[in-house]
Each structure stands twice: as structure tokens, then as C-alpha cells.
Symmetry: C2
């Protein structure tokens, strides 16, 4: 994707909060979500974040604040899910984002600007729901550092399976239990096989974990039997979010032979409310390649564009806020930080791989990248890696405490942002979820 | 579930075809599906099979052919998917089925009978779509004979994983590629690792297989974090169908470490059009127990009702019809036959296991049982088992041919029925799908 005027770092908005230091939502971002006023009986509808406000897309459509293809796109965002908008494809996505950008620019005027200004709702006053009706949710496994870290815990002799460097590995996840940031969930009950035991035990999860991931949403998609080639893959990706693939490690490790994770992963998956569009991420695309002495992608997973700029340099961090942090008014502790640019496969390769056998993707489907762990130990995206399977304590300096796995009352917060000289800093907001006690 | 007057083997209908020898759809069955006249622009709507006809439930609702709770239930069946009806639960399901039964009985008369008669559409003139909008599709792995047969091919030293006799094992499947019987699909492209090779190859599947399964549809379901106990499990199961979990064995075996099957199974899953209700299956429930010298279910997977009648004795068979069968006008060859009563876990145990960690099931969700293989070699539910991983030819006597895996043009037909002395024979119709050549 080429850079265009919406990426100009010097463009400012008439909305003051779009320039607040450290804001995730300057005029160069304009991520999409679904919202309503908190606790109101209002209908949920599409919205776009700008500064500390939300642009109400149902109002934009109703008040004819934009015209032409942008108006058609805004209409598709007026309902309680963005599936129809995502189905329209890149030209429509671009038309609406550019029209909003132009209305938001410093100096813009006219009835469209007045209508946009009237539509604004403070972010502090809104609640979100999932941005799409997710038909299917798929989770990949594409960080070689994560695969090696977890592999060492589960299979010390064979940490990396022989297919990892040939296939963007994935499994199907559970769509019904994908929830929006802020949703608390109960620690899961289930079966585990304690070390050395001869029979499994039933009980509350003892090794509860998070997984730092990103998610991406499918645009037009494909019909059954018609794979999407690499050259077209990114036309089918609307944008990205933060994703926490909560995991019950004791349940998962006992259940997953031979068909993979099931209950260990399907009790809750949390996504951030805002989808940052691939167009907004264009300044942060980076070259992508496997080391020359390692297997190179088969032809169907290869493309020049992917090599040139298949990666995305998103800075990511994980924070933990325990009950004690809240009681004592202490800021959350950072557990780790890394970048998505270290991932072994790109989102285009993930999407193409998903369809190569003929599987159909539908507008609004959610794909997760798998845990994002960077090359060093402190960049691990799950506590099972940081604690080396629970054998080492992970310090929580803020409260003088520690964790090997998550405890009841722990809130895990994921954050993501992009920044570099010469480009506007843009952010993803946050994904947040609290562990409630099990009901036995 | 107790037997009631709808199970009386002596009750006859005024509709002659309900008594045709070998019919799947006598008055004691009354399975539900979604249909319209073939090739018409009509809206799809709910229907019930009787003899060689379909009762149009939109017409039943519109013409007030039934009243009270049955009318509310018929209204919920008037649209193009049965999700709202399934959400209503057993009392509503029973009210509608009993009301239709009473209108269909020999000797019944009145405006309701006339309306029902006027609503009938010949089955030969209809086409089907999926009976529900499937939110999520889950596939279990609950035949110990299948697990041992396949395990011997994949893991000769360890055919049965240590968790099999403790957990109804499952993985999440792909909802978007579940299709209705009669839908052809393309042989999938993908990666496989040939024996002895040092790098995988990309190409059309060389080891294409079917899997004989049953499916069952979720009724009311549960909220996240609120598991369904065994004592309530069957109140959340509306009924059962036939299911073919087409599998690309070469792709599957290469991709599935460590997270399970993905592309090897997500290119197509075929279901039969009619859902046979659990109430219709009541005469065929059978006792269920694990052998006394093997692990017994943990308490959360156990109930007296499950032991007394958790099983279902459904007769099943697999037929193969090649292009040559069709060209020569030869009947399909039977590949195998077995019964669902041999399954190691019951559908109630599968449903309870699915929710024990808090995962929410939604009305209309589809759960598959996993391949159904009986205790003897000839009862295997997949060709990889019959051909012992492709090492032995499976004869097709009708054409003097053989198969190790499926060839282009092969149609696989699944059938299922229940019969025993003193009860009416009821059937499931068929699941049928044809393999089209790959597009390379």
C-alpha cells in the first residue's frame, strides 16, 4: 500500500485532543469500532476514534456528512456490526477514511464538518461491543520464539515441530467466546493430569495464562474452493487489533493430544475495541524474510510485496494489575514488551494459507496471529514462557509480589502502538480482562 | 425421555407414502429441516418430512393450522433457519411435533388437517439449505475403535492417547464450510511431506478421505461461565443428523503437530438435510457404560440417566458411487456399516464436556461425534482405516474396482436409520457429496 496524504505527519485536526501527547488516535489513525453511550438503551453503531472522541457513523450517514462512495460506506457502518462495510473492500474503506480525514483537518469547514462535530461522543462515555459478528475465529501459531519457548516446556527433546518453518500453523478457535475488552471471565474448571498421577483430577485451572496476540479482520473473503493468492491477500484484510488468547495450561496440556487445544483455550478470548486499518498502518510496514540458511517459503506463500513490506512494526506490551495494585493505587506492572515485526509469518501468508485448500473466509471473520514473543527472554508473550513453565517467579515490583501463573483478581492489559521518526504515532488502545474466581 | 403416543408403532397417517416400505419418514419420525421448491426464487423456510412430502411450516404458521405453544413454535420455523425454534427448548419442540403428529393421524379432520394437506410439497421437488445458521461447529473424537485404527497408522507405538478414556476429546471445526448434502467440492490443494522427503511438496491432496459421523444441534445453550451439568445436558440437544467430515490425510498428518487438524479438515463438511429429534429417537436409546476394568467417567461426566440410556442405537452405512458406477448404471457399493451405540462417549457427555470450562454454546451450533467406527475391521468409518493407511485395496465389487483413497468423481453417501421389533423404523435420509477435480 502506498503512502498518501492521510499519512502526512504534519497534518493537524481542529480537534485539540487529537494532538494530546501520547494519544493513540491522531487524525492519521482513524480506527473503526462499534459503540453506544454507556448504559444507555441506544442501538450500537459503527464509530471512528479521534483523539478522546468517537465519530458516530450512523449520524454521519443520516446527516449526509460525506457523499458518494464514502456515504455508501458510512451507511454500511450504521448498524451494530461492521460486516457489510468490511465486505465492500479497500476502495470503500479508503473512501470513508479519507472523507473523515478531510472533514477533521484543521481549517476544514462546511456542513459536513458541522455534522461530524455534532456527532462526536466522548470516549469516556461509551461502551463497545465486538466490531463484527464473527462467523469463524482462527488462531495461528507464527512466532518461532514462542514456539521454541513453549516447545521446550512441553517437548524438551523436540521444541520446534518440523512443519513450523514450512506452514503458518493454525487451529480453529471458538467464535462464541470472543469478547470485547473489559469483559471479566471466570477461571475455568476442567480436567488436568498432575505430574506423576495415574488419573486426572477435575478442578479449577491452576496454570492460568494470557497470550499476547494481534488479530486481523477479513474483508471481502472468498468462495469455497477459490483460494486467495498471495498477490491479493492484503485486499482481504481490513485491519488489526489486540487479542488476548487466555489459556488454561494444565487443562490444555492434558487434552491436546492428538487434536490440539480445545477447552484450554475456548473459555474466553479478548479483543480490543478498535480496528486499526491496514491503510493507517502503511507507514509501519517493514521488509520480511526468513534467514537465508533456513527454509524459504514455498511459491504459493511467496510474493515480492510480502518480501518488501509484509511485516508490520507494532510495539506491544503486557501489563498486570492485581487486586493489590488497585487497592494500593499502584500502577500496573509491565510483564514484557516486544514488536510484531519478529513474527515468522506475515498476515498475508496466514490469510493465503487459510484458503489454499479451499476454505472460505467471510467478511468479519477474525484471525489471530498466535502468541507474539520476541527473540529475547524478556520479550515473551505468555507467562508460561516468562516463568519457564512455572519454575521461576516473575516479579511484580510495584507491589513487591510475584507470579508464576495468573491469580484471581488479576487484570491483564495489552497495549500496542506504532511510532518512528517522520511518521505520526498511532495506537491500538488496549485489551483488558480480569480473572474472576472459578465457580466449582 | 419417556415414550409417549408419538412413538406408538401402530399409529398410521392418512398420508399413504408415510407407510411406504423402508421409508425414513413415517409419522413417528417428523424430522425438521429448511427447504424451498428447487430452483425457485421462493424464500427458504422450515419444513418437516413425512413420507415423500415436506410440511411447509411457514404455511402452517400463516394458516393457523396449529394453536397455542405449537403455533409459537411454528412461527419460529417460518424463516430461513431454525435457530429461534431451537432456542425455545424441549417443551416447544414437543408441542409442535405432537401437534403435527395429531394432524397427520389417520382419521384426523378439521381446518388444521386441510391446511397441513395444502402445505405439502413433494420431497422430489425441493432443495435444502443448512437447517440452522451455525455459529460454531465442534468436532469430537469419541470412537475408541477409530482412535485405535487411526492411531496405529499415525503412532504405531502409542495408538490410543492417554487422555482418550478420560475426556471426550474434541477440536473446533470450521463453520463456514459446513454444507448441505448434495454440494460437490474441489479436491483441496495444500502441503504434504512425502515419506522420506526432506522438504514438503505443494499439490492436490493424494489421500482424500471421508469420515462417517453423526452431528447434533444445540438447543437453548448456556451463557459464558455457566457450564451445563450432565443432568441437564439432553435438554440442550434438539436432534441428530448425518455428518461427513471430509479429510485430506496427507495435508492433515503434516500440519497437525502440535495444534491439531486445520486445512486437512476445513475445506468441506457435509450434513444431511433433516434433523431427527431426540424425542423421535427415544425408542432407540440404549444403556451406556465403559467396561468395568477401564477408567470410569469422572463425576462431572456421569449421571444415572446417561448410564441407563445415554446411548443411541443408530444403524449407519457408507456407500461409494464412482463415475463408473453412474456411467454403467450400477448401484453404489457399500464400504462399511456399523452402529452409533459403540461410541465411547455419549452426546450428553460431549455437550457437558464442551461447557465445563465455561465455553458458551448457542442455539443452532453443530457438534460432530467424530468418526464412528465399530469394533470389527469391516465397521470402520473412514477409508484410511479400511485401507490401513492406503496399504490395502478396498474392493468395489459393483464395478470390479478398488480404492485406497477417494478419486475424482467419487460420491460418498452416508445413510442412517433405527429399527427394532415393536418400534417404528425411522431414518435420517442421506448425506451425499461428490469430489470434483482440484484447481491447481
Amino acid at each position: 500500500m502506498q503512502l498518501n496524504h492521510t499519512h502526512d505527519v504534519n497534518t493537524r485536526s481542529w480537534l485539540e485532543s487529537a494532538h494530546a501527547p501520547g494519544t493513540d488516535f491522531p487524525i492519521q489513525n482513524l480506527p473503526f469500532g462499534v459503540f453506544r453511550r454507556k448504559g444507555s438503551g441506544e442501538a450500537f453503531r459503527g464509530g471512528v476514534a479521534i483523539g478522546d472522541q468517537v465519530i458516530d457513523l450512523a449520524a454521519i450517514a443520516r446527516d449526509n456528512a460525506v457523499s458518494g462512495p464514502a456515504a455508501q460506506a458510512a451507511n454500511a457502518c450504521a448498524g451494530d456490526a461492521l460486516n457489510d462495510f468490511l465486505a465492500m473492500g479497500p476502495a470503500a474503506w479508503r473512501a470513508l477514511r479519507h472523507a473523515l480525514f478531510d472533514l477533521l483537518k484543521a481549517g476544514a469547514s462546511g456542513p459536513g464538518v458541522s455534522a461530524l462535530r455534532a456527532s462526536l461522543v466522548p470516549q469516556a462515555e461509551v461502551e463497545h461491543r465486538l466490531p463484527t459478528r464473527i462467523g469463524d475465529y482462527t488462531d495461528f501459531y507464527t512466532s518461532i520464539h514462542h514456539a521454541r519457548n513453549v516447545g521446550r516446556v512441553m517437548r524438551p527433546d523436540d521444541p520446534l515441530t518440523s512443519n513450523f518453518q514450512w506452514i503458518p500453523i493454525a487451529y480453529h478457535g471458538r467464535a462464541s467466546s470472543v469478547v470485547i475488552s473489559g469483559t471479566a471471565f471466570r477461571r475455568p474448571m476442567g480436567q488436568a493430569m498432575p505430574p506423576g498421577a495415574s488419573a486426572p483430577v477435575y478442578g479449577a485451572c491452576k496454570r492460568l495464562d494470557y497470550e499476547l496476540e494481534m488479530g486481523f479482520y477479513v474483508g471481502p473473503g472468498n468462495a469455497m474452493g477459490e483460494p486467495i493468492p498471495m498477490a491479493e491477500a492484503e485486499q482481504h484484510i481490513f485491519g488489526m487489533c489486540l487479542l488476548n488468547d487466555w489459556s488454561a495450561r494444565d487443562h490444555q496440556f492434558w487434552e491436546m493430544a492428538p487434536l490440539g487445544p480445545f477447552l484450554g483455550k475456548n473459555f474466553c478470548t479478548t479483543v480490543s475495541p478498535w480496528i486499526v486499518s491496514m491503510e493507517a498502518l502503511a507507514p509501519y510496514r517493514v521488509p520480511f524474510a526468513h534467514p537465508a540458511d533456513e527454509p524459504q517459503p514455498l511459491a504459493y506463500l511467496d510474493s515480492a510485496a510480502n518480501t518488501e513490506r509484509g511485516g508490520v512494526d507494532v510495539q506491544l506490551e503486557v501489563q498486570l494489575e492485581s487486586r493489590e495494585h488497585r487497592t494500593r493505587g499502584v500502577a500496573p506492572d509491565r510483564l514484557s514488551a516486544t514488536s510484531f515485526r519478529h513474527q515468522y509469518w506475515t498476515i498475508a501468508q496466514m490469510l493465503t494459507q487459510h484458503t489454499v485448500g479451499g476454505c472460505n473466509l467471510q467478511p468479519g471473520d477474525l484471525l489471530g496471529t498466535g502468541t507474539i514473543s520476541g527473540p529475547t527472554a524478556s520479550e515473551a508473550g505468555a507467562i508460561v514462557e516468562l516463568s519457564v513453565g512455572g519454575t521461576r517467579a516473575v516479579p511484580l515490583p510495584g507491589i513487591g509480589g510475584e507470579r508464576r501463573f495468573l491469580e484471581d483478581g488479576d487484570t491483564v492489559i495489552l497495549r500496542g502502538w506504532c511510532e518512528k521518526p517522520g511518521a505520526a504515532r498511532i495506537g491500538f488502545g488496549e485489551s483488558r480482562g480480569e480473572v474472576l474466581p472459578a465457580v466449582g
